[in-house]
């Protein structure tokens, strides 16, 4: 049960943290339509995170006899510390320029797509239902972000150069998505197959974007087990500020 709960928290945290990062574009997008697009994607990610947190909270409360403070989606999002967050490092990195934002979104959406395709057939009915529901939204995120990677990669000299820089900055954080954490060992996901599938799809989009598929590099990890980059604390400080300062406050 604890393994399943941790897996759900990992799935939720990935989405919540990327949602928070992308929301930094609100009011700052390069053009109005794309400002709306990235914030819409943030909202979808947040909605998916809520589903995962709600399910995790139900299981946490079931496994604790008479909890004093029952877990809720809000307590899981706002009252856990950095070391308790299980998201991949990739999603917590600063948003960078627009090229880095769309590339990160693409790499993550492609990961979500291949992963959720498997999870929608999971033996746990609620887990499968959340994944199947999310997959419909991810289809839109994937198309939008891959189109942007191609547009900028195969664009001007400047945009091509920026995409090369983004690829260089982000690639060494992609490996972690496929390194199963201890709590994922019984999840029933074949991470090797997942990575193979992801690699093929990413290679095709990068080729269309006239960007090179990066060489094998050292892959950073730690996020899945709570060891985060220096950026994570700042993100949480901002995201959790209200509940930390005024506990229990509501809008």
């Amino acid at each position: 049960m604890q393994q399943l709960i941790n897996s759900l928290l990992h799935l939720a945290d990935n989405n919540l943290i990327l949602s928070q990062r992308n929301s930094e574009w609100c009011g700052h997008g390069p053009v109005l339509e794309q400002d709306i697009a990235i914030t819409n994607i943030s909202l979808d990610l947040l909605g998916q995170a809520r589903n995962w947190y709600q399910y995790a909270a139900t299981l946490i409360n079931q496994s604790t006899s008479q909890p004093i403070n029952p877990a809720t989606e809000d307590s899981l999002a706002y009252l856990r510390t950095e070391r308790e967050f299980k998201n991949c490092l990739l999603v917590e990195l600063p948003k960078g320029d627009w090229g880095q934002t769309v590339l990160r979104q693409y790499l993550y959406s492609q990961f979500q797509h291949v992963l959720y395709e498997q999870l929608q057939h999971h033996g746990d009915a609620q887990l499968a239902a959340i994944a199947a529901k999310a997959l419909k939204e991810i289809t839109y995120h994937l198309r939008w972000s891959s189109e942007w990677v191609v547009r900028l990669g195969d664009g001007t000299d400047e945009s091509h150069e920026r995409m090369l820089q983004a690829l260089e900055a982000l690639w060494c954080y992609t490996g972690e998505m496929f390194m199963p954490a201890e709590y994922e060992t019984n999840l029933g996901v074949d991470f090797n197959a997942l990575q193979h599938n992801w690699n093929q799809k990413v290679a095709a989009v990068l080729a269309e974007a006239t960007l090179p598929m990066p060489e094998k590099v050292f892959m950073h990890s730690g996020g899945k087990s709570g060891i985060h980059t220096e950026h994570m604390g700042f993100l949480l400080a901002e995201m959790q500020y209200l509940q930390r300062t005024y506990p229990g406050n509501e809008w």
Binding site: L43, L46, G47, N51, A132, E137, W144
Partner: protein, 157 residues
């Protein structure tokens, strides 16, 4: 407590509309999946969310409770499976959308036409996609090339 007639409840639910698109009832959208009236008088309404992040969903659940305030023991339950699809939108609902100025969904889930969506203002099909993400999660933005009006299109989902 006496068992409540489910038909009565369905009729009351006809009055609950989407807060974002008030011309559509929650039935037009296919959000209400079941109404169960138990022998002890309790009522369970099963709804399914459209988009996971849609802020209207919490409000819809609240509006259902308000509409049924005269009844005791009302539970609004949300289920995710089978996942909501625009295929469940009624024909009446689609016609109402069109009249309201939002082009109704056409085609299969996840499909986004680049052009050819009928303009709800002048009915021209000489239109083009501006952005797959519009004013809310469920809409995309198009522009009519004849009357030049931008308009929302309810995405296939």
């Amino acid at each position: 407590m006496q068992q409540v007639n489910a038909d009565t409840i369905w009729q009351i639910l006809e009055t609950v509309t989407d807060p974002e698109i008030p011309v559509l009832t929650i039935q037009d959208l296919g959000i209400v999946r079941a109404v169960d009236c138990a022998e002890d008088g309790s009522i369970t309404i099963t709804i399914t969310p459209t988009y996971t992040g849609c802020p209207a969903m919490d409000m819809i659940a609240m509006n259902i409770r308000l509409a049924l305030a005269a009844y005791k023991n009302v539970t609004v339950k949300s289920v995710l499976s089978p996942a909501w699809t625009t295929d469940w939108m009624t024909e009446t609902g689609k016609a109402k959308l069109q009249q309201y100025g939002i082009a109704p969904p056409k085609g299969s889930a996840g499909h986004i036409p680049q052009d050819g969506v009928e303009c709800p203002q002048c009915h021209s099909t000489y239109t083009k996609l501006l952005s797959e993400f519009g004013s809310t999660a469920c809409k995309a933005l198009y522009q009519c090339q004849d009357c030049k009006e931008p308009f929302d299109y309810f995405k296939c989902h």
